[in-house]
């Protein structure tokens, strides 16, 4: 690991990987500390943890983390020079740039803003400017908005930007100009609200999902989400980015082991 920097309530881990495969926006990696992985709360963590790749720059991959459990805690406390086990890039990312010149609307919530940063970089290099709408619980988390350029921010407590939900910002944007494609990542209730809003307005949406997963590469079948057809998709290999139209709903209970 080359650096561990504070960004409001979050940490940005920078991992040196100059020879690694270049990730697509929306792809993820499984991370574990090389040393002392285990022995935390309830003798966890045991499994590696899945994180979206937030950015790739100068031979380093960036990851955005929030300390919410024994796994993320151990990763957040890692110092520059310590070893990290990285398996990735994994999964299917965002399909970008958008078809038919629809304007890209990037909608993120909390630590889920991470893959939107690399997506914004990729869109910018293809001469697409994106509208960025980000929601956070409070001001300390709202500082995470600095990861992207020119974001409009909403906070639950009103300390920064719009007091309310990011989906309210999305509704205004779609009212203003609905010829758009939505790329979204965030907590399940936010993604479900985005899914419903986009379906109602016939706006294509790509949702980057999270689910508890043991492996990240299709072996464990633990990260299944229900499709409209009644079957299951594996978030790790069929996603993590899945077209909103393919999903029955975004469920809250498939949360990742933290």
């Amino acid at each position: 690991m080359s650096a561990n920097e504070q960004l409001g309530a979050y940490r940005v881990l920078r991992v040196s990987d100059p020879d690694g495969p270049r990730p697509d926006p929306g792809q993820f990696a499984m991370l574990a500390a090389a040393e002392r992985w285990g022995g935390g709360e309830d003798e966890r963590p045991y499994l590696a943890r899945a994180f979206s790749i937030a950015r790739v720059r100068d031979g380093e991959a960036h990851y955005l983390l929030e300390d919410v459990g024994p796994g993320t805690r151990r990763l957040c406390e890692l110092q520059a020079g310590e070893g990290l086990l990285v398996l990735g890039p994994l999964g299917r990312g965002f399909a970008a740039p958008p078809h038919q010149d629809r304007r890209p609307l990037l909608v993120g919530g909390g630590v889920g803003i991470a893959p939107l940063a690399i997506l914004q970089d990729t869109l910018a290099s293809a001469d697409f400017s994106s509208t960025v709408l980000l929601g956070f619980r409070d001001g300390a988390r709202g500082e995470g908005a600095a990861l992207l350029n020119g974001a409009s921010v909403a906070t639950d407590d009103g300390s920064v930007g719009h007091a309310g939900l990011v989906t309210e910002l999305l509704a205004s944007e779609l009212d203003r100009d609905g010829y758009a494609v939505v790329y979204a990542c965030g907590p399940a209730p936010m993604l479900e609200a985005v899914r419903v809003m986009c379906m109602e307005r016939d706006v294509p949406a790509q949702l980057a999902l999270e689910a508890g997963m043991a492996c990240g590469f299709g072996a464990c079948y633990g990260c299944a989400v229900r499709t409209r057809g009644g079957g299951y998709l594996r978030v790790c290999v069929d996603g993590p980015v899945i077209e909103a139209a393919e999903l029955e709903r975004v469920d809250e209970h498939a949360g990742a082991p933290a």
């Binding site: 003798e43 045991y46 689910a211 508890g212 072996a219 079948y221 633990g222 299944a224 299951y232």
Partner: protein, 290 residues
């Protein structure tokens, strides 16, 4: 790391995968050439195939336990027809022998599965998952020695391929079950399957079960010492070869299972953390010496 003979198969080393812990087709898609250069196992054991397709259990399917994992996946698979038509040709291209794992809820159903697998030359051996409730008695077929012996005896004539019985650890006397499998005509036994386990949702009131399937199976380092005891007990009771598994993370753990009588060692949950764990363990497993 030295070659080993198992049920007439010449294997490059003694490390295989536990059924359902490695999806070779998905892994090739994810890792491509990197996996081709060093396939991690000396034989590949498929996930459990059932007669009819299964979608699997509702989410959540996983719970991280102290030094382990509880899974309640529910054996999603395409069903026998789908497996034979779509997956088998891809699995046959693996650089190692293929063992197909099947499960049915009656002896007749298992016989049908075994017979159809017997007809396919891509399949080198068949493993029976007997951790399935008998539709008549409700008891796991593999949990009762008499029932298990009867089922294996009924199934046995339907194939000339080697039959491996994957024992359930959720039985009163696992060694007695192993003995029964041997008496019924099994060519080998494998153990341990996961231990039945449960977790409650962390914040729900009233208490609710976390896993969509209600209960699941515990695997990982948490069960390694249980596996060692059961493999030792089984190896002492049977003459047929034993595939030992349960929480193996490194060559020393594999060596322990071999020392108590296992011919092969399967790596399961550790492959979730490191897809090349099997190759690492095989490499580190020096030939027996002292």
């Amino acid at each position: 790391m030295s070659p080993v003979e198992f049920c007439g198969l010449e294997l490059a080393h003694p490390i295989v995968n536990g059924s359902g812990t490695f999806d070779a087709i998905a892994a090739y898609r994810a890792f491509g050439e990197a996996l081709k250069q060093e396939f991690p196992f000396a034989a590949f054991i498929s996930k459990t195939i059932t007669l009819r397709p299964r979608a699997g259990n509702p989410a959540p399917r996983l719970w991280e336990a102290p030094a382990g994992l509880i899974n309640s996946i529910g054996l999603p698979n395409k069903g026998l027809d789908g497996y034979l038509a779509e997956d088998l040709s891809q699995l046959a291209r693996l650089p190692v022998p293929l063992i197909t794992n099947v499960m049915g809820s009656t002896a007749a159903e298992i016989s049908q599965l075994v017979q159809r697998c017997d007809a396919r030359e891509e399949i080198n051996a068949i493993e029976l998952n007997v951790s399935c409730p008998n539709v008549q008695t409700g008891l796991d077929i593999g949990a009762d020695p008499r029932q298990l012996e009867e089922v294996v005896r009924t199934v046995r004539p339907h194939t000339s391929k080697s039959l491996i019985v994957k024992l359930t650890p959720n039985a009163a006397d696992v060694a007695e079950c192993a003995r029964a499998a041997q008496e019924g005509g099994a060519d080998a036994v494998s153990l341990i399957n996961t231990l039945r386990a449960m977790a409650l949702a962390p914040t729900a009131s009233p208490a609710t079960r976390w896993l969509g399937g209600g209960t699941g199976g515990l695997s990982g380092p948490a069960i390694r010492t249980v596996a060692l005891a059961q493999v030792a007990a089984v190896a002492a009771r049977v003459e047929i070869p034993v595939i030992g598994m349960g929480g193996v993370q490194c060559a020393a753990h594999a060596r322990d299972l071999i020392d108590v009588g296992a011919t092969l060692v399967a790596v399961g949950t550790e492959s979730f953390r490191d897809p090349l764990a099997g190759a690492r363990i095989a490499r580190d497993l020096a030939p027996h010496s002292t």
